[in-house]
Assembly symmetry: D2
Homo-oligomer: 272 residues x 4
C-alpha cells in the first residue's frame, strides 16, 4: 500500500485522516470560524470550495480567487492543510499556489484533459468518484494522473446514483476494500455527499472507517440552515464534535484490531 506525505501528514498509513470544512467558502469570517473549530476538534485538513460546479447556471458559483486567499489565510493561522476543487485547467496554477491538495470533483472524473494537466504537477490530488462511474472506470481515471508522473493520488468514494432517493447518493462502501486492493492508493470517504443527510453522517463515518477507509471528509458549518449550498448534509459544531470523538475512538480500535490480527497470524504460523 502506498502512503502519501502532505506536509507532516501521512495518508494511507496507520493514522486515519479527518478532512472537514464548509461546502463553499462564503466569507473570510465564515471560513476562519470553521477552521478554528475543526482544528480544535482534531481535523487535519480544511476543505472549502472556491469554484463551485452547480447543476444550474443560476445558482451561487463560488467566490473564485478570493476564496483561495481566505483558504491560505485560514491555513496559516490554524496550521491545517487545505484542499479545494479545480474545475478547469486555467485555475490550476493559482490553486496549486494557494492550497496543499487539488480536488477533482465527481462531475469532472471523466474530464481527461483536466486529469492529464494535474498529472503534470507534483501536487497531492483528491480524485472523487463520479456518481456514475464503475470502480473500474474510477481506477482508469486515476491512471490518467498517474501516467503523467504524479503518484500522489487519493481516491474518494462519495456515493453513486441509484433508484432510491431517500439518500442523495448511495454510499458504496464495498468499493473501499476493493479500491485499496486493486490500486494500492489511499481511500477517503465522503459521507456528507454520500448520504446528503446530516442525521446519518456519524454512523456512516464509523462504517467507512470499519470498511478500511484511510480518512473521512465531511461538511461543517456554524449554521447549516443558512449555508449557501448543501445545508441538509452539513454538520453543525456540536454534531461535528460528536463525530470527531467517535472518529478517534474507532480509529484507535481499528489500529488495535490490526495488531491483534498480526499476532493471530504469527501465532498460527508458530503453531504449524
Amino acid at each position: 500500500m502506498a502512503t502519501i506525505k502532505i506536509g507532516d501528514l501521512t495518508v494511507g498509513g496507520r493514522q486515519k485522516v479527518l478532512i472537514a470544512g464548509p461546502c463553499a467558502i462564503e466569507s473570510r469570517e465564515q471560513l476562519l470560524q470553521i477552521a478554528r473549530e475543526v482544528k480544535a476538534q482534531g481535523a487535519h485538513i480544511l476543505r472549502g470550495g472556491a469554484y463551485k460546479p452547480r447543476t444550474s447556471p443560476h445558482s451561487f458559483q463560488g467566490l473564485g480567487p478570493q476564496g483561495l486567499f481566505y483558504l491560505k489565510e485560514a491555513a496559516e493561522e490554524t496550521g491545517l492543510l487545505t484542499v479545494t476543487e479545480v474545475m478547469e485547467p486555467e485555475e490550476l496554477d493559482l490553486i496549486c499556489k494557494y492550497t496543499d491538495i487539488v480536488q477533482v470533483g465527481a462531475r469532472n472524473m471523466f474530464n481527461y484533459p483536466l486529469l492529464r494537466r494535474i498529472g503534470r504537477t507534483d501536487k497531492a490530488v483528491l480524485l472523487k468518484r463520479s456518481f456514475m462511474a464503475t470502480v473500474e472506470e474510477f481506477l482508469l481515471a486515476s491512471e490518467y494522473i498517474l501516467k503523467e508522473g504524479n503518484h500522489r493520488v487519493m481516491l474518494c468514494e462519495r456515493g453513486i446514483r441509484t433508484f432510491d432517493h431517500i439518500t442523495r447518493n448511495t454510499l458504496d462502501l464495498a468499493s473501499v476494500p476493493l479500491i485499496k486492493k486493486m490500486s494500492g492508493l489511499p481511500v477517503i470517504v465522503d459521507p456528507s455527499h454520500g448520504t446528503g443527510r446530516s442525521d446519518i453522517v456519524i454512523p456512516m463515518t464509523l462504517s467507512a472507517l470499519a470498511a478500511g477507509a484511510d480518512g473521512i471528509m465531511v461538511e461543517v458549518h456554524p449554521n447549516p440552515k443558512k449555508a449557501l449550498s448543501d445545508g441538509l448534509q452539513t454538520l453543525d459544531f456540536p454534531r461535528f464534535k460528536e463525530l470527531s470523538e467517535d472518529f478517534s475512538a474507532m480509529a484507535k480500535f481499528l489500529d488495535g484490531l490490526d495488531e491483534q490480527r498480526t499476532h493471530r497470524v504469527s501465532r498460527e504460523s508458530n503453531l504449524s
Copy 2:
C-alpha cells in the same frame, strides 16, 4: 427500539447476532459439519435453504422438506436457532414446525399474499429487502406482516441493484441507520449477497456493525468451490473463524462506545 426474543436470544438489544450457514442445504453431512463449525465459532443462528428460488428453472431447486428435517436435526444437536426461506404459502406450516425463523427472500418482498400469511403466524420473520426496493417500499412491505398482528419482524439489508457489477449487488449501508430510525425494528445485514465476493465479506461485516446493524448473516461452506450455489460469496471455515473473531471485537468495541456516549451526554447535562 423494539427487541425480539427468539428462544433465549434477544435481537435488537446490546448483543450483536451472528447468523451463518450454507446457501443451500445439500446433504445431512454437509449441514451437520457446518452447524458444528459455526456453533464452535460463536454463531447464534444457523441458516440454510431448503426451498431455493433460482433465476433459471434448470438450476438446483433445493432439497425441499428433507432439508427442513436436516435443519431440525442440526438445531437439536448444536443448540443453534434456525432460519430458512419460504417461497409459497403451502410450505409455511411445515417451515414453521421445523425452524425458528421464517425468511422472506429478496424476490418475494413484493409478494404481498405471502407476507399477509406470515403476518397471521407468531413466527419470528427475517424479511429481506428486494434488490430493487426503496427503503420506503421495504418498510411498507414489513407493514403487510405487522398489520396482521405479527410484530416479530427483523429487516435484512442485502444490497441493491445498480449499474456497477464489480460486486453482485451494492450494499446500501446507509439504509441501516435509516431503517432503524424509521421503523424501530432490528436490522440484519447480509454481506455475502450484498457483495457476492468472499474476499470483502469481513470488512463489510465490520462496516455493517459500525453502521448500527443488530447482526450479520453470512454464507459458510467447507468447500465453497463445490457449493451447489453462491460459491463465490461463501466463506470457508478458516475465513469464517477470522470473521467471528473480528465480529466479536467490533461488537465489544461498539458496546463500549455506546456507554461512552451515554456518559458524554450525562456529563454535558450536568455541566449545563
Copy 3:
C-alpha cells in the same frame, strides 16, 4: 416467430393488438362504460384489475371475485377478450374460468411457484417484466411457464427502475427487438406504467410499435383524476380516441414497410 391464438385473435402476427381498460375495476358501471368505449375505438382486449398488488397495505386492494364477474359480463356484452392479474395460486382457477388471459404483474415475475402453476394450465399468459429484471432474467422467468408445457406466453415490457424519476419507470424499448429475437415470443408494451404520464403515452405507443412490439396495453378511465389508482398515467376517452387513430395508422404503415422490405430483399436476390 410464434403466434398465439386467443379466440379469433392472433397475437404475434401481422395484426397489432390493442389492450385497454382501467387499472382497477371499480364498479360494474365503470367497467361497462369503459368496455363499450374502448371497443368502439377498436381495442381487442379489455384489461382490468380485480386483485391489486399495492405497495402499501393501507391502499385499495381491488374488488376481488366480484371484479371478475363484471369482467365476464363486459366481455359478453362487447365481444372483447379479457385479461386480469393473478397474485396467488389460490385465485388461479377462478381467474381462468372468468377471463381469457392471465396476467402476471411486475412484482410477481420472480414468483416462481406461481409461474409453475400457470405453466400447468392451458391459458394464454401475459407475463410482465419486473422493474428490476434484466432481459435475461425476464426470459428465464418465462421458461418457468414454458417448461411446464404452456407455450401461450406473451411478454410485456413495462419499464425498468432507474435513477431518473421524471417518468415513473424508464421504458426500455430496445428490449422489444431483443426479446423477440431471443425468445420468438410476442411482445406487448405498456406505455402507461412505462412512463406514468398520460401526456406522453401516445408518442410512446407509436415508438413501441415502431420498435417492433406486437401490441400495446394502456390504461383508460372516463375520469382519470377520480381513478382509484394510477390516475396520472391514465387516458381519458378523447385522448384514447386519438391514440387509437394513431395506433391504426402506424400499424398500417409498418405492415406496408414489412412488405417493402420483402420486395427489396427479393429484388436484390434476383440481381445477384
Copy 4:
C-alpha cells in the same frame, strides 16, 4: 418549437435529419470513403471524432487536428455538414474553424466551464446527455450554453446507465417528447451508443423517430470489426443503406400523420 439553421439545413422542423459517420476518424481514406457512402444514402451531416475521450489512457485517443483537416476535406468534396466532439476549451477555436457543429460528449455534459465557452460562440451545438443525467440536469446543462447567448443548441439522447447490461446503455426514448415539450429545442437520438449493438440500430432508429425525434445519429464504417473504437455498435454499408431507406419511409409517414392530425383537429373544431 425552435428550429436551427445550419447551412441550408433546418433542424427541428418538418425534415428529419440523418447524421452518420465513423466513431473515430482513423485516416483520410477511411473518412472519405464513409463520407461518400453516407452522402449517397441521403445523410445530411457527417460525424467523426478527432479528439476521443477514452475510459483508459492506454486506448487510441484520436488523430487530433489532423482529423479536423480530413473532416473539412470530406465536407468540401461531398457537401455534407460536419460535427465533431470538443473535449477542452483550447481546442474550441480550431474545431469551430473546421466544422459546422460542435459536439459536447456525454462525459462532458457536466463540464460547465466548457459549456460556458461554447455559449460564447455562435456555433451550432450538439449537446449529448450524460449517461447518468436526469432530464432536468440535461436541460439545466443546456442553459449554461443558452445563458451566454448561443441559442443554436440541439439535445442528443444517447442512453442512460442502468442495471441491465444486455445493451451498452438503456435508450430512454420517453425523454424525447419530454425534452421537446420542456425545452422547445430539437432532439437527436443516437441509437448506436444508446444500444451498443448494431443488430438493433434500425428498429431503434424507427422507434426514435416515432417518439418525435428530429433526427438520428449513427456510426458507420466499411468494416466495423476493424474499427478502432465502438465496432460492435457500428453499421456496415449494406446495413446503413437499409437504415436510410427505412428512415426515409418513416419520416414521410410521420409527416403525413402530422397533417392528418391537423385535419382531425380542424374538423372537430368545425363540428363543435
